[in-house]
Symmetry: none
Subunit: 253 residues, 2 copies
RNA sequence: UGACACCGUGUGGA
DNA sequence: TCCACACGGTGTCA
């Protein structure tokens, strides 16, 4: 679960994409006017490589800490995505608590199919946003499952997953109460749990590490930021075709 | 046993520290956007007063940034006015982690008085170097204060300042532990905090922006580089007379 | 005590 | 543009 970075070299010894900094550094070290940049996912890097270095938009949060593994090994960005339908959900909240939004990325047969953003909440938390993401991922999953498709949901919030797929059983059996105090975000949890119950034998809900360069998670993350930026209260589709590098360049300010 | 509280007023009628709530309340009552908070000790309050209120409420990033920048400049300019004794400290580490050194520049009555360099550590970090700088600045400050001189320390490491003047209070109260893991550079922090406690009511510790052309900071920076170059493990004075522009022309961080 | 997430700050280097 | 060193807070649960 180490963070894999992808380095685009536009101008250097051998332009291309590299998976470790030492490797990338060789291409740019000592090259006058070298252009290069790191990205969290290969998809992002490939889009950027084709777009060229022109934009200075920069992913502002590129340098969140997580240690990179020693060598340029291939991290399993693929391991968690091998279903007929894969739905990634994410939430953002800036500051936390504060304005919050949700994003979804849907893959069908391993290809990006739809992007959704919205559910803006001017007074949310990171967890309301993540629960909204999971709830709506479940709703999308329901359609897929009813169409006979093998479906998985990928969520980076252990809290949201456990609320809906684990703890909710116990809470419900005690009439949605908890010894230690009121259950936060209860309505959202109840809604999501109800949908989950309908699908429980037919879907997989997986935890994916955040900020690990997993494409679907990164795209859902950007959508959640877009939701905040646009204060979009509905859940609306992002119109195709998808220009990934443009989407990833979205920023507030 | 009623606890004595200390009230910091950052924005109000008359910013400062108050020792009773009625007194503090007068300063903030009816003042739009007033910022204030109570602390358990005067030392904590003073550190907090200098650090600023810390929490942001704004959601508009651009305008917020500009505004806080402007007001931050104002605070700094006001607070950085000359003292009878001004001590600048800095640390360098090249590469980081790696060989590290520390430098100090001391002004007395607005005139450069001494330059110190050393504390070479062949396996340091930027932060060990900065903490060494702050520790030894505090030691120098102690002499000055005991001589009845109004004294300030200027440090460009927010990390070092906060470790010693702010976070150390909480860490000490929890037996020098932290929720999120072990405290790095603990011995250095403990030493510096102990000296700080002796002086807390009689000195000012200020943050200065790095690489901003502030003479004292620049000179301390050159001294820290010199410490690495000479691998000087003691803290030794740079012999006068001082040719400031020649010193500033030395290799810098 | 642990886990996941969401935000924020500064410095040291190439 | 890249790397690394260090830290704070809140949201939530078992």
């Amino acid at each position: 679960m180490a963070k894999q970075k992808f380095y685009v070299v536009w101008r250097g010894m051998a332009p291309g994409i590299y998976t470790s900094w030492p490797e990338a550094e060789k291409q740019v070290k000592g090259v006058a006017g070298a252009r290069y940049k790191s990205f969290a996912s290969r998809a992002e890097a490939e889009a950027a490589l084709q777009s060229g270095p022109g934009k200075s938009t920069g992913t502002k949060k590129a340098s969140k800490d997580r240690k990179s593994q020693a060598s340029g090994d291939k991290v399993t960005a693929k391991a968690s995505r091998w279903h007929e339908v894969d739905i990634y959900c994410d939430g953002a909240c800036d500051p936390n608590p504060g304005p919050a939004g949700t994003g979804l990325a849907v893959y069908r047969d391993h290809a990006l199919s739809e992007l959704w953003y919205g559910l803006f909440n001017p007074a949310g938390t990171n967890n309301t946003a993540e629960l909204q993401g999971l709830l709506h991922a479940l709703k999308l999953a329901k359609s897929a499952v009813e169409g006979g498709r093998q479906t998985a949901i990928h969520c980076d919030s252990r809290y949201a997953i456990d609320c809906v797929t684990k703890w909710a059983f116990g809470w419900k059996s005690r009439d949605w109460t908890r010894k230690t105090g009121p259950i936060m975000n209860l309505a959202l949890i109840q809604d999501a749990h109800a949908v989950y119950l309908e699908l429980v034998d037919r879907i997989t809900v997986l935890h994916v590490p955040g900020h690990a360069g997993i494409e679907g998670n990164e795209l859902a993350d950007r959508m959640s930021m877009l939701a905040i930026q646009k204060a979009e209260t509905d859940l609306v589709p992002c119109p195709p075709p998808f220009d990934i590098s443009a989407l990833l360049a979205l920023e507030r300010g």
